[in-house]
Symmetry: C2
Subunit: 210 residues, 2 copies
């Protein structure tokens, strides 16, 4: 089973640093060629399910443009130019909640859309989080920090209260991983973001766990 | 906490039925106005984690343009124009695997990107699946149908073998839901796709579970 090949690419639209639209000429394994396959380049982002030393889940209630009403959300944000995903996750956790965590587990790195790209979501579970300073978020969205019990998070997930695809993914994966003891460690997460070849995702590398 | 308002919208780019790029003028609750907020309209899609009467998980090994190498994947596809998400899920399961399922559980409906939209992912768990005919898929991608044990699926998810964000989300949510008995029923899923007001997602409605 062979991957599709990108024969050529051209830019259709540039909307600042958050979105570039390309048209790719794509070759399928059977030789079929598709012109003008739309491809979206956007910055990679992180979402972090952070659990405090006391077992509390740090969540936001917040607004987001694509979401009706408010939603529960894990910590998250875009990677800065050239930033390592794990470094971005640590930065976002500190900026948004004032917490640092002792134990980082990669929950995987996933292209957002199978046909169009739109960047990569790097998902993390951060355990042993403790408050070290005041939050200092620069997000446009209003948000309120909550500390929920695991049972509350499970119920909220089932009820669809984490309303965005990456948020539901991060929480569902974190709850699964949280059930096993603290086996995967910060070491594990650090390994997962080591050197990988650049991909078609606009130069962002995305590791697949071994 | 107030949602952001869409003051106006204009089309920047149309790429057939799979992608339209708009620029929105957005008003924040504090009165701040942002011009040229990029917004992506794409068809909604379904992903279905299908479990056979014998407890086997129906998965594909397949290629996908945004994914390096092959990946494990649940059943999935785009909604047709005006199609109900649950009807699309039943259609895709039948077309791609030749199976029908007796017990449908909605795992939620999620906008794909919090800032840009890019459609809605409707995720389902389909239990009691049984083969009723030959598959008849019209997808461009090569794919191979596999039947995995629950333990295999759990291991594959942890190893990052479901390489796309909606696939990992669907599988993680399905594994959680599958742990509880057959409480939510087809009735539940049918309810979840009832009348809702159109949203900014290009007229596609997306239900949030109660």
């Amino acid at each position: 089973m062979q991957p599709w090949k990108t024969r050529s690419r051209r830019t259709l639209l540039e909307c600042g640093k958050y979105l570039t639209v390309e048209a790719h000429t794509v070759e399928l394994p059977d030789g079929q060629v598709i012109d003008d396959w739309p491809w979206l380049i956007a910055p990679a982002y992180v979402n972090i399910v952070a659990v405090s030393e006391n077992g509390g889940y740090l969540c936001f209630r917040q607004v987001k443009y694509a979401v009706e009403d408010t939603s529960l959300a894990p910590v998250g944000g875009y990677l800065e130019q050239g930033e390592d995903p794990l470094a971005a996750a640590r930065r976002e956790l500190l900026e948004e909640t004032g917490h640092e965590a002792s134990d980082w587990v990669s929950l995987g790195s996933y292209p957002v859309d199978g046909n169009r790209g739109l960047g990569v979501a790097h998902l993390y579970l951060a355990r042993g989080a403790r408050r070290v300073r005041q939050p200092d978020a620069d997000d446009l969205e209003e948000q309120e920090l909550l500390v929920l019990s695991r049972a509350d998070v499970e119920k909220a997930l089932e009820e669809g209260a984490f309303k965005l695809l990456p948020w539901a993914a991060a929480v569902a994966l974190a709850l699964r991983r949280g059930e096993s003891a603290r086996a995967p460690s910060a070491h594990h997460a650090a390994e997962a973001v080591e050197d990988r070849p650049p991909s078609k995702h606009g130069g962002t590398t995305y590791p697949i766990l071994p």
